[in-house]
Amino acid sequence: MALLTDAELGSWGTGHIVRTMFPLLVVLCGIVLWAGITLEDAGDLLDRYGLLAVMVPAMIGMGGNLGSILSARLSTRLHLGTTTFDPTDRLLWANVAAIFALAATIFTALAVVVWLIGRLVGTTLTLGQLLWISLASGLSVAAIAVVASVVATYGSYRLGIDPDDTTIPIVTNVVDVFGMLVFLAVSRWVLVG
């Protein structure tokens, strides 16, 4: 097969992808650094309640996942020309409703599984406390993920940028930072008062 020229490759060229992505990656790094510093500052809380450290990656990862599912669907629908961003578009609302249903299911499961791990290692967090922490922060993160997905996809589309290059990074990182802040704040509030 003959090699395609850069012009034929268009947005699939290595140089094009790196030039589009790398500056964005650097900016996103700077944003998520905030989550890192929040985590480092919460060291005392993590030392006291080791189960919270176990929850951290699942918690922030899940928010990002929910956002990515929605963004990837929205951006492919844009590419295929079937999304309109009309607030009366019932298919858009079906997507959003599915995200919240998934969040409620998964964050309940997270609390239960972490509670079981806690029973094994013998910590004092109750199922009620874990459900509170998981669902209160989880559903807030889902709401942030939905808003971020719609805004980022629509924004890229209006600015003429391929949403595949931008939306998932923006959404997952925004959700990472807020997920960490909300999770640690809710945990502190439930456990310390």
């Binding site: 790398f22 990656l25 890192g36 990656p57 990862g61 996942n65 590419h79 998934l102």
Partner: protein, 190 residues
């Protein structure tokens, strides 16, 4: 498709994958709680954890999103072959992953210095992220493409798979290789 059908199709397709992601996240969390012991030796390590994990998501999430759209548009076939678009996308994600890991180490070090903290030496922090990201790159690229192609061939919408696959593989292997990198650097430094 009717809204009710769309709702259930997303829920049914995403739930099993999210459940696997949840398990991945929990494994990663157990590694993180093990890593807490090394934080005293390498101040700044905890700051890099979310940034490192997020970057895995960014680089390979973008690769996955691109491949998913390529599959939908018929520009890419669901198999490993010398396709110029596929090769370019893979090389670009490798360059981005390694390049950004140097930025992560330097930026974390710089910001901690600015905040008046005492981070571990610059070369130690950069060394840890660089080793972790090289190891992660190999597993992520092979794993992501294998799972996406397999999913697509069995009739699943790759859009629903990308995020969860990237987060699960990225969290599990990212944390495991970060842990390994810390062990390697501990040996090299001492």
């Amino acid at each position: 498709m009717q809204p009710r059908g769309v709702f259930w199709s997303i829920y049914r397709e995403a739930l099993p994958v999210l459940a696997i992601t949840l398990l991945g996240g929990l494994c990663s969390g157990l590694v993180l709680s093990g890593l807490l012991d090394s934080v005293a030796d390498f101040p700044g390590l905890l700051v890099m954890v979310p940034v490192f994990l997020a970057t895995r998501g960014n680089v390979y999430g973008s690769l996955g999103g691109r491949i998913a759209t390529g599959l939908h548009q018929g520009l890419i076939q669901p198999r490993f072959e010398w396709n110029d678009r596929l090769v370019n996308a893979i090389i670009a994600s490798g360059i981005n992953a390694v390049g950004i890991s140097i930025v992560i180490g330097s930026l974390s070090w710089g910001v901690l210095r600015l905040l008046g903290r005492e981070p571990a030496p610059l070369r130690v922090l950069v060394g840890i992220v660089l080793i972790a990201s090289l190891l992660t790159a190999v597993v992520m690229i092979v794993g992501l493409l294998t799972l996406l192609f397999a999913g697509y061939k069995t009739g699943r919408d790759p859009d629903n798979l990308v995020g969860p696959i990237v987060t699960t593989l990225g969290d599990v292997f990212g944390m495991a290789f970060l842990f390994l990198a810390v062990v390697i650097v501990e040996v090299l430094v001492s």
